[in-house]
């Protein structure tokens, strides 16, 4: 069935990404928005947009009935869930199916089989894919947790059974840390996914996070598009991802790909999905979990393989065959993605909501900016901190790194604090260049990332000029502005005009 009109059950950059893919295929798009999102970019870019409730996600983006209602009344024939929110919620996939809507993602059965991390670990054990030691079932009560943790051995990871993206993941290094870690993990898991179930797993020190992109159509064809390395994380939130991994050679890629495809087949998986592994320095890998949705970091795979994953998702959902066989997939060059988040890395990575006063994204050769914001936009405090994904491609990894350094230098966001400065320093670090990555990378180098104050004299000059012009050119109030356009007002009252002498 050719899709004609699709409801995007998401917001932010991923909603924009889906809208763009639909527009390129002539599929009309329906956006939904909470009261906090009327001016968000996905509303501006969609063909249609409808309100769905109050700002908290639990009263809007997570309300299945309301989404189905909007889809029906707008005449949509399909729904794309993006990532997060209801993307890995089998009940939502089921509700779409029941309402006669094509769900652009796996069938509810596959979401249940693989989306539940503990069930997925059981499948992996059955088909012979190695797993990290830990519980195969959720930890029901906090009372039983200490004994379980003791049997696995500290340090232990507490992980949410649903969801992903590092939400609800906490490390406990000792029995004393376990209660607080459990509480925080459960709270985040409940808030993010509406389910506080968690499980425990042995913590592997300084591991590398390697994940494999797969595509499966409903004829049973499953292929993989190679791996991504996502080892640059902070608090289990990925910050930098790349494709291919500097540690993976062709032989390891084949082994990883085969394991991922085996798991997907065992689960009856259809559509795009990602199988996550932890790898050690001897190129052993352990199945971690499967994400039954599009990943945030899917663009790095796209840039290297040339395959548009959202287009592929839409094709699969409309019943088409993949159109690629494994042998058709080739990898050219290296792509790197940096997540530009509204966080202040120099003040404990605190979220930094606010208004974007100036926005000058990087651009030019082999730069891709997958953004959910614009100049003048006020970032709501209700949702995650991701503003934009900056992706670069290069003929080889060194060129890609040099290009990312250039792009981060160009990228200007004024009005909120972002991760850009710390991303720039990571990318410039010799260990990053050498591919010595691990999930402990950021904590290890963070103390070296402090300011050197080298440009203080230039900053003083800039501040002095700004104040000098402000004092010297304080304008007489205009009796009556003849227009209210901010730009014109600004121009006339002399700030730019005065300084530039025009």
């Amino acid at each position: 069935m050719k899709l004609k009109k699709l409801l995007v059950a998401n917001r932010g950059e991923i909603a924009v990404r889906v809208i763009r893919a639909c527009r390129e295929q002539g599929i009309a798009t329906v956006a939904v928005y909470s009261e906090a999102d009327r001016e968000s970019l996905h509303v501006l870019m969609a063909d249609e947009a409808y309100p769905i409730g109050a700002p908290p996600a639990g009263e809007s983006y997570l309300v299945i009935d309301r989404l189905i209602d909007v889809a029906r009344s707008a005449g949509a024939d399909s729904v794309h869930p993006g990532y997060g929110f209801l993307a890995e919620n089998a009940a939502f996939a089921e509700a779409c199916r029941d309402a006669g809507l094509v769900f652009v993602g796996p069938p509810p059965e596959a979401i249940r089989a693989m989306g539940d991390k503990t069930a997925a670990r059981k499948i992996a054990r059955e088909v012979g894919v190695p797993i990290v030691p830990g519980t195969l079932d959720p930890v029901e009560s906090d009372d039983e947790a200490p004994a379980v943790a003791e049997s696995i051995g500290y340090p232990v990871m507490i992980k949410t059974a649903k969801g992903g993206g590092g939400k609800g993941m906490r490390l406990a290094s000792s029995p004393a840390e376990l209660p607080a870690a459990l509480r925080l993990a459960r709270a985040e898991a409940s808030a993010a996914f509406g389910d506080g179930a968690v499980y425990l797993e042995r913590y592997i020190a300084e591991p590398r996070h390697i994940e494999v992109q797969i595509l499966a159509d409903d004829s049973g064809e499953v292929i993989h598009l190679g791996e991504r390395e996502c080892s640059i994380q902070r608090r289990h939130q990925k910050l930098i991802e790349e494709c291919p991994s500097p540690m993976v050679d062709a032989a390891m890629r084949r082994r990883l790909g085969a394991a991922a495809c085996k798991l997907a087949k065992a689960a009856g998986y259809v559509n795009a999905g990602t199988v996550e592994f932890l790898a050690d320095t001897d190129r052993n890998f352990y199945f971690l979990e499967m994400n039954t949705r599009l990943q945030v970091e899917h663009p790095v795979t796209e840039m290297v393989t040339g395959i548009d994953l959202v287009r592929a998702q839409l094709g699969i959902a409309s019943g088409e065959r993949l159109g690629y066989r494994q042998a058709d997939i080739t990898w050219r060059g290296t792509a790197i993605e940096c997540r530009i988040n509204a966080e202040d890395p120099f003040s404990g990575w605190l979220p930094s909501p606010g208004t974007i006063r100036t926005l000058r994204p990087a651009s030019g050769p082999w730069i891709r900016d997958d953004s959910g914001i614009y100049e003048g936009y006020t970032i709501p405090r209700y949702y995650d901190t991701l503003l934009s994904k900056l992706i670069v491609w290069g003929e080889d990894r060194d060129i890609a790194i040099d290009r990312m350094a250039r792009a981060l230098g160009e990228y200007r966001v004024v009005g909120v604090k972002t991760t850009i400065p710390v991303l720039a320093r990571i990318v410039a670090h010799e260990d990053f260049r050498a591919g010595r990555l691990s999930t402990g990378f950021i904590d290890r180098i963070l103390p070296q990332l402090q300011s050197d104050g080298r440009l203080a004299p230039i900053a003083i000059i800039a501040a002095a000029v700004a104040e000098y012009e402000r004092l010297g050119r304080r304008p007489a109030p205009e009796s009556e502005p003849s227009t209210l356009h901010a730009w014109r007002l600004g121009n006339r009252t002399g700030w730019r005009g005065g300084v530039t002498g025009t």
């Binding site: 909501p353 995650d384 501040a463």
Partner: protein, 169 residues
């Protein structure tokens, strides 16, 4: 025109003349000829001895916040008279204790301490939920919790005082 610039608590006098994009700026015994243009309300292009910079300049509570190549410089700039009035009036810094303020709008998800509790440096005092993250606010000093002004579930705005910690004597 003379201006007093204060960076990191240290005040210096800048002498600036010129206009229409061309300035002479003297700081201590150094003098620069500067070509400076605001190319947007917050971006200032500077050519200093031929070197090109684009500074991000915003004002925050009277101070100029200057961003340059990923570093942030908060700089207070005053006319000399005003500087002397402001500094003679005394600062607003709290004397020794820690005012734990909400760093962003959000909701209190957990209060970990009660009035009178003893805390060590690094202990979690309060957890604020914002932008889908649980943010733990920790004690910067060892001491006694002298006040707890919020409860779990309560929404907070940036700058709201949540907890006060008095250091050990």
């Amino acid at each position: 025109m003379k201006l007093v610039v204060t960076v990191g608590g240290k005040a210096e006098t800048v002498d600036i003349t010129g206009g229409h994009g061309r300035y002479r700026v003297a700081l201590g015994d150094r003098v620069w000829d500067v070509d400076a243009r605001f190319v947007s309300p917050t971006l200032c292009s500077l050519l200093v001895d031929g070197v090109s910079y684009v500074a991000e300049v915003t004002d925050d509570d009277g101070a100029q916040i200057v961003g340059l190549e990923g570093e942030t410089y908060p700089i207070e700039v005053d006319e000399p008279v005003r500087h002397s009035i402001r500094t003679r009036a005394g600062g607003v810094s709290a004397a020794g204790g820690q005012l734990v303020k909400a760093p962003m709008p959000g909701k209190i998800s957990h209060v970990a301490v009660r009035r009178g509790d003893r805390v060590e440096r690094g202990d979690t005092l309060v957890v604020v939920e914002a932008m889908k993250m649980e943010n733990e606010l920790k004690a910067a000093v060892a001491g006694i919790v002298s006040d707890v002004r919020v409860t779990a579930g309560q929404p907070v705005n940036p700058g709201d005082v949540l907890v006060i910690v008095e250091p050990h004597a």
